[in-house]
Amino acid sequence: MANNVNDLVVIGSGPAGMAAAVEARALGMTVSVLDEQPAIGGQIYRRVEDAPEALQMILGKDYGAGRVLAEEFRQSGAAHIPGATVWNLTEDGVIDYVDAGGTRTISATNVLIATGAMERPFPIPGWTLPGVMGAGAAQIMLKSAGAQPAGSVVLAGCGPLLYLLAWQYLRAGVKLAGLVDTTRFSTYVTALGKVHGAVTGRKDLVKGLGLISRVRLARVPIYSGASDLEILGEDHAEGIRFRHKSKSREISAGLVLLHQGVVPNTQLSWSLRAEHRWDAAQLCWTPVTDDAGRLGETQIHVAGDSRRIVGALASAIQGRLSVLAMHERKGGTAQPGHKAELQRQLARYTALRPFLDVLYRPLDEHRIPADHVTVCRCEEVTAGEVRSYVDLGCLGPNQTKSFGRCGMGPCQGRLCGLTVTEIIAAARKVAPGEVGYYRIRPPIKPIHLGSFAQSTS
């Protein structure tokens, strides 16, 4: 297996990765797709190939659409290497990964990073308690295990995935104790006025609003425009407290599902020392690429939500366009009109994004929390401690490591990096782009030393 040079290795088998592989195979390239999950599909289409009928009914039409792409992928002749966690990638296309058998190496002329997104951290009081999870995490429980909340459950935050899960739960017969929505209903009108993309993306918008109104009709108590979220409980979650219409309210629930959007999974592009910029619209770091997702002058492209949040349909198109750019660099040409058609589709699928970014912008206090709130879950560093580092001269996330262990635990800053960036920027009164990020080094996932021992055999 080692040093088997592929024309293309794709990291991630979500919509971006699968579509890229299909496109590359059609152009005659040899392709391997690595994914740390046991099955293809990525986040949106998790377990799409063998989800039972009843579950597909609950998850809805958009989920079912993934079957078509998954089948195309299976027929494309691309190799799929499941359960393969990539922990190192070099600029010249050498990829180290670990699977059940130990660590292995694979090489490629071109690499596509299609590692998708993760839920944005939601640092509020009590968010480390058992019984508090991401809404996306609960959706993974539903997709992969058919698991549903056993007792009282409340959903809180904002963003399409939050409402989607509420809707899917209703279809599954799960009763919600409440939907605490940090978006004010009036923001829909304001955001609409601001962004003309909402007109082109009208169809998607109507679909999104439809989800919310169906949740409303199901008599789920919805608290729109809520703020100051706080988890109740000592050893485990017992409920949530928040402000609504200038009153403090509480809902008791043993399971609190938080969500305030998704952010790119940039660990691999950071580890390459590629340039990243602070994206003020999406409030996260994004790798600097050309239109086709290429990182500088390298043979490495980034597509889908790991480049910038664009959603599943646009992710797939980006994957295809990245492959066309690789092909063109080698002097190849695509079928006439094909590229233009893909670009047209991409424009359509991304039209609504600026509107969504405005509408579902997470509240400041849920990104840049008060002093007593834990921001680094692994090493248990609070927002106040990070601010005290700034008082002592700390300039950015990377320097916090000389003051304490912030960002040095096993998650390698994934759950605190954005928060720490914004806390320091606010304390220093500079733009987040100025304070930088952690220096991410391989291995980008902790590896069991036993894996190395195995691989030498």
Partner: protein, 112 residues
Amino acid sequence: MTTETLFSIPKKAGQAMVRIEFEGETLHVPDGISVAAALLSSSRGALRTSIVKGTPRAPYCMMGVCFECLVEIDGIPARQGCMTLVRDGMIIRRQSGAPSLEGLASGGKNGE
């Protein structure tokens, strides 16, 4: 006990089950699901305690990014429960505090 779990998995006829052991207790769970999903649906409370202050923790992200699901599996500490599928006869234990990370090579550790 069962009524107190955070999640439940509706029983399906013909569902293949496996037997796992968590802290000495035998659990029957559907085949093909992750250790974290199995424990969240059949046992209650924390899966581990945190490294610094020993506070209770449980799976948060279910997709391999938060490392809150670290448990000891078949004698090997610090396995990601959400990324590991259950297997018949698997023995799982809670993970407490710092020893959890022994045996791991981590980029975060030298990431100055």
